[in-house]
Symmetry: D4
C-alpha cells in the first residue's frame, strides 16, 4: 500500500465526500468523518493497518464546485500538511448547468474546470507524497443522458490531469456503471447524485483498491 | 461466498448491532441499517455482489441481553423468514453484573446464557440455511480485567454452541485483541463497549471474511 | 366546465398529491391542501368560479400504492360524499419494484394494479357524477429507462380503465415529456418523482384543461 | 407574451409577495419563491414556456412599506440585472396609519409614497425592458371602509405613475372586488391582507393575463 | 357585587375566552387562565376582593361553537359545581357560515343556536346562583358587514334568553362599537375576531361592571 | 386623568415590569407589553380613553438594578421622547444583598441608589410632562423580614425623591400589604418577588388610580 | 451505620426528593437519582461504604401530598422489596392550604395526614428492617409565618409517629433553622420550598448523620 | 478548616470539574456549579459553615489540557481575586496521547506539563492565601494500563510541585484506587474518565478532608 507510517491523508470534495461531517470537530476527530466513503476508508485503514497510524481528514464541503473548493484550499487542505490528498470533484460544476438553467448562475465550463483543477494540483504537489484523483459520478445507467454525458467529459479532464502529473486516478464511474448492469440506480441513491451506504461502499472499495490496500489482511 | 441469490440475512444483537437504526423503517429500508457494522456488511454485499440481491436486516436492539432478545425473536427475526441469521450477543449479560451491582437486577449467569442461546438456535435452525455466531467483544487489552475475563467465558459458550450445531463462529474478540497489540482501545471507542467507525470496520471485515466474501471483486 | 354549483371534488393519490397537507385539518380547511397541484386547482377553481362554491379535498397519502389507497377508500374518500373524484396513482406500485428490490417486499403487478383500480372505480361510480384519472408520472426524458417503461404500462392500465368506464383521462406524462423536450428533468424536481412548483403547475394546468376550465375568465 | 428568452423577472413587494420565501437561498433557487403568487407565476411561466428559460426572483420582504423597499432596491433588485421588474407595494404604508396609531410611528403620506415610487421607477427604467405595477389590495368588500378608501388612493398613485411612465398596470383590487361580489372575504384570507392559495391564484392569474400569457398553451 | 364568599365562577366560551390557557392545569391553577379577559377578571376580583376568595375557572375552548360547547358542558362546567357561570359564545356559529362556505360543513342556524343555548341554561340554572351571558363580538365598525349583521342576530338570541330566564346580559358588542367610533378595529385585533390586550380590557371591564364590581376599592 | 391626547408613556423597571415582553418588537408593538401590569395599563387606557391615543411602551428589563437601568436610560427611555415616564425599581438592588451574599457581587447601597435615582430624574424631567414613581415591592406579610425591612427603606428613598421633585408616588407596597391582611402571599406569587395576574392587577389598579383614571367610564 | 450489606434503601417523598429524576430509568439506574439529597446520599454511601453495595432508589414524585403518595405506595415502594424506607412528606399537604385557597381543592387536614401516614407505616414495617422519617421543611426564618407554623405541626405528627413506632426521625427543619440564624433563606432556595445544592447538602448531611454514617472514613 | 470568612475559592480544571456548569451565569450564581464535586463542595461548605460566607466558583472547562487552561488563567481565575485556588488537571494532557494518536495533534509532554503548571502556580501564589492541587484521575483498577501508568506520572508532577511550593496536595487517585479494591470502575463511571455522583462524592470528600472540613458539624 502506498501509505506509510504517520501519513496524513486529506480527502477533499463536495457533498458526496462531506456526508454530514461535523465541521466544528478537529480533523480526524470524533464525528468528523461524515457517514460516507471517508468514514469507511478511515475505518478500514485504521482497522487493518493499525501500525501505520494513518490520519484521515474529511474536507468535503456540500455544494462545492471546483471554484469554491479552490478558494478554501489553503486553509482547509494545505494547512493540515497532508502527505496525501484525494479529490473527488465535478458533479456540481456539471449539475448547475442543468438544475441552475433558470437561475442564470455563473457555471464552470470545461476550460475553467481544467485550469482550476491544474492550479490546485500544482499548488499541492510540491508538498505532498502524492495525489489521488477520483472521478465524479452520476448514478445513471444511460450513457445518453445529457448530464451523464457532460459529467463523463469533466471526469475525463480529471483523468487527463492525472496522467499528465502521474497521479493515481480512480474511475469510480466505471464501478458504478458496472453495478448498474446488475441493479438499478435506486438501489444506490434516490437522486442519482448522493449515494447511500451501498454506493459509498463502491467508492471506498475502489479507492482502497487503487492505493494498494491488502484485503487479505485481517 | 455462502450467500445465494435472494437470500435474506437478519443480523440480531444489542446496541453494537443496533447503532441508531430507525425502528419505524421497514426491514432493509432507508436508514434501517444503523451506522455500524450492519451498514458496512450490507453496503459491501450489495456493492460487490449486486447479482445476488441479498437483503440485510438489522435487528439489533440497544440494551438487550440474551433474555430480552429471546423474547422478541419470533416477531423480530423469524417473522422475516430469513435464510441466514447472525447473532452478536452477550456484552449486556456480562456488563450488568458489573455496572448493575448496586441495582440488584436479575443477571444472566452462564447456564441461563447457554440454555437461552441454545433455545434460540434450535428454534431458528429448522427454517434457515445457516447461522453465524459472532463473539461479543470488550475493547480492553488486558486479559486480567475481570469483565473481560467473564466476557471471554460467555463468548466461549457461543463458540461451544457453534461447534455443537456446526455453525459459523466469528471470533471478533480475537481481531480486536490483535488490533490492541498495535493501538490502544481509545482509538476504537470511548467506553470499551461501543465501537466507532474503526471498530465497526474490524467487525464487518471479520464477518465478511467468515462468510467467504471475495475481496478481489471490484 | 364539468363542475356544477356546490360540487365536492376529492383528489386522491400518493405523495405527489399529498405534498405536505396537514392531516389534522378538516377537508378543504386551512392548510389542508398541501403545496402541490391540489392547492393550485383549488385556488384557480375558487378564484375564477366563485359562484360555483366548489369544495376541493386533498386525499393524497405519501407512500401509497394502489393497495394502500384502496384500504382507506371508504373512510378517506367515499365518506365525504364527493361529486367528483380524481385519482393519480401508480408511481409507488412501480418504484417499489426498483428501489425495493433488496427489501423483498410484496409488489403490485399489473394484474393486481388493474383489478384493484377497477374495484375502486366500481365502488365509486354509483355515487358520483364522474371520475377523473390522472396518469402517474416519472420526470425522465428517456423512454428507454426501465422504470419509465414500466410506469408507462401502468399508466396505460389507467387509460384503459378510463376508456372502459368512460372516465376523463388526463395524460400528465405526455405534458411532462413535452416539457422535457425543452428543458431537463432537474428543472422540475430533484429525484424524478416529486415535482416542485413548476412540475405541479404542469399537472394543475393539465387537470383544469381536462375538466373544461375556462382560462379566458378573469 | 412580453417576456423573451432568458429574461430575468424580479418581483418586489411586501409580505403578500414574500410569503415565507427562504432568504438564504440564491435567487430562483430551491424554496426561494415563497408559497404565494410568485411561486405560481414562476411555475406557469416555466411549465408552459420552457423554451424561454425565464428566471423569476422573489424579492418581497414582509413588513416593507415603500420607504423600506426603496432602501434595499439596489442590493435586492438592481443587482440582479433584471429585464423586468414587478412591484406590489402600499398596503403597509396604509395599514400603519391604522394599526400603528398608538405607536407614534412615522407614516408614509401620499406625497412621500408617490415621490419614492417615482424615484424607484426612474432608477430602474434605464436598465430594464419594462416594469409592471400591481395595485396593493385589501380584501374587504365595503368601499366605505376607511382603510380600503385610503388604500384605493394609494393604488391610484401607482396607476398614475404607470400611465405617466407607460408601464403595465395590473388592477388586482378590481379582481378581488369582483370576487367579493360572489363570496365573502374569509374565503380568501383571515385578516383582509394576507391571501391564501385562492387569493394568490387571483393575483397570479391577473399578472399573467396582463403580460400576455397564452393560456391556450399546454 | 353579586359574588359572595367562596363562590366559584366558571367562564365558558370559545377561543376568545380560551386565550391559550393550559388545559393540563387544574381549574384556577397556575397558567390556567389564558391571557385574555378571564385572567383580568380573576386578577381584579382577587386583588380587590381578597376576603371573598372567589375561584375563577376558564373553560373556553378554541374553535367551539355552541354544539361543541354543549357536548362538554357536564364534564367541563357542571362538574366544577359552579355558583356562577358566564357564557360568551356564537362567533364560530356565525363565522363558519362565512369561512366554511367551501367546506360544506354543518352549520348552526339560529333555531339550533337558540335551542341549544336554552338547553344549556336549563341544565345549569337549577344548580347555580346565577348565569351571565356575554354577547359574542365582531370587531368591525360597519353594521352593513354581512357577518356582523348575522352575528348581531345571534347575539340578540342570547339577549332574548337572558331576558326570558332573568339572567345578566352583558352587551360587549355595544362597548366595542363605541370604541370603534374613536379608533379603528386594528387597534383591538388583527382579524376582527381575536382581541389583543386592549380588546380584552374592554370585555373584562364590561363584565366586571355588569356584576357590580366596585371600582372605588383599592 | 393626567394624560393628554397623543401622550407617550414609557414604563421603566426590572423583571416585574418586563414580564416576558418581546424585545425585538417596536415600542407599543404587537407582544411588546409583556403579560404584567404594563399590558393591563395599556389595555385599560386604550379601551376607555380611545380618543386620547396614548402610546404605552414597556421598558422593563429583567435583572436590572438601578445602576443597570441608568446605563440604558438614554437609549431605552429618552430616545422615545416620552411625555410621561414611570419607574418601578429597587427590588434587585435589595435582593442581591441577600441572594448574592456568597457571590461577592458589588451591591447598591442606599446612597448610591438615591444618587443614581436622582440623576435619572434630573436627566428626564426637563423633557417630560411628568414622572410617576412606583414603590418596589416584596410580597411578604411580615414587616420583620430583613429583606422586606431593607426594601421599605429603598422604597422610602423613592418616595423622598418624589416629594422633593413633586412627582407622583404610587405606594404599591401598601396595597400589597393590605391584600396580605386577607390572603397569604402565595396567592399573588410563588417567590415573593414576581407577581402573577392577581398581583399585577393590584399594581395596575394602583397606577391607574394614581393618574386619575376614571373608572366610571365604560 | 444501620445499613448492612446488600440493603435496599427507598427514599420516598415529593418534589424535594424527586429533583428531576428520570422516571423511565430503572431504580438506582443512570440519572434515576435526581440532583438533590438522594443523589448525595447515594453518592456518599457508595463512595465510602463500597463493600456494603447498598442500593438507593429515589421514589419522590413532584406535587405529591401524603394522599397521592399513599396511592402509589405498593407499586412504587413496596414492590422494590426495600430493607429501609425513608419518607419526607408534608409540604404539599400544607402548601395547598395556602396557594390553593382560591382553587377550592380538597386539602389534607392533620387528622387525615396522621392516619394516612400511620397506614403507610403499618403497611411497610412488617417487611423492612426500619424506616426513617424526615421532617418536611419550609426555608423561612420566622416562626410566626402562618405556613411555617402549620408545617411545624405536620412535622410534629411525623415525629409523634416516629416515636410511637420507634422509627428514626430526622429533624431537617431544625438544621435549616440553625442555618437561617447565620444566612438568609435566599442562599438556600428562591421560593422557600425547593432547595438548591446548599439546601440539599443540609438534608443529606442530616440524613447520613441520623443513620450513623461514619464521616471519618475516606 | 483553612478557609476564613468571606474567602473566595476558585476551582479550576477540565470536564471533571466543569460538569455542565452554565457559562453565562455569574461566578457562584444559580446553576453555575455544574453537577459534580464543585457543587458538593459548595453545598457542604455553605451548609455547615454558613458564618464563613465562602464563595465557590467553578472554572472547569471541558476539554482543557494544561495549555488551554493556562491561556484563560488571567481572565477566568485571577480576575476573580480568589483567596484560594484548586486545580485538577492532566487527564486530557494524557488522554490525547492515546485517543488522539491518529489525529496528529500537538500533545503535552511531562516537561511542558510541569513548566506550564509551575508557571500557573507562580502567577497565582503571590495573590492568594493558598493553592490546592488535586491529582487527575483515571478510574481504572489495573496499574498496568498504559494510560493509567502515564497519568500516574503526570499526577506525580503535580505532587512534586505541591511539595516544592508547599501547597496542599489531594491524592484523589488513591481514593479511587481504594474504592476499586471493593467495586469495579463501572459503578463510578462509564468511560473511566467522567465520574457519576458516586465518583464525585469521592472527590468532594477527599477535597473537604484535605482542607480540614469538620464533619462533626451539623
Amino acid at each position: 500500500m502506498i501509505f506509510e507510517k504517520d501519513d496524513i491523508l486529506v480527502m477533499a470534495g463536495d457533498s458526496v465526500t462531506d456526508c454530514g461531517r461535523m465541521y466544528e470537530q478537529p480533523p480526524a476527530g470524533w464525528r468528523s468523518f461524515g457517514d460516507g466513503y471517508v468514514s469507511m476508508v478511515d475505518g478500514f485503514l485504521a482497522a487493518l493497518y493499525p501500525e501505520l497510524r494513518i490520519m484521515v481528514a474529511n474536507k468535503g464541503v456540500s455544494g462545492d464546485d471546483i471554484l469554491l473548493m479552490e478558494k478554501r484550499w489553503d486553509k482547509d487542505v494545505l494547512a493540515l500538511n497532508p502527505d496525501w490528498v484525494s479529490i473527488m470533484i465535478g458533479i456540481n460544476d456539471v449539475w448547475r448547468q442543468f438544475d441552475g438553467l433558470l437561475m442564470h448562475v455563473q457555471t464552470v465550463d470545461q476550460q475553467a474546470f481544467k485550469s482550476t483543477y491544474r492550479s490546485i494540483i500544482e499548488r499541492t504537489l510540491p508538498t505532498v507524497k502524492g495525489m489521488i484523483l477520483l472521478s465524479p459520478i452520476m448514478i445513471e445507467q444511460s450513457n445518453d443522458n445529457p448530464m451523464k454525458k457532460m459529467l463523463v467529459e469533466y471526469a475525463h479532464i480529471a483523468k487527463e490531469l492525472a496522467v499528465e502529473y502521474k497521479l493515481i486516478y480512480v474511475d469510480i464511474q466505471a464501478r458504478i456503471d458496472a453495478f448498474l448492469q446488475e441493479l438499478n440506480e435506486f438501489i444506490l441513491c434516490s437522486d442519482r447524485v448522493h449515494p447511500n451506504n451501498k454506493g459509498h461502499a463502491i467508492i471506498a472499495k475502489a479507492f482502497l483498491d487503487a492505493v494498494g490496500f491488502d484485503w487479505t489482511r485481517t
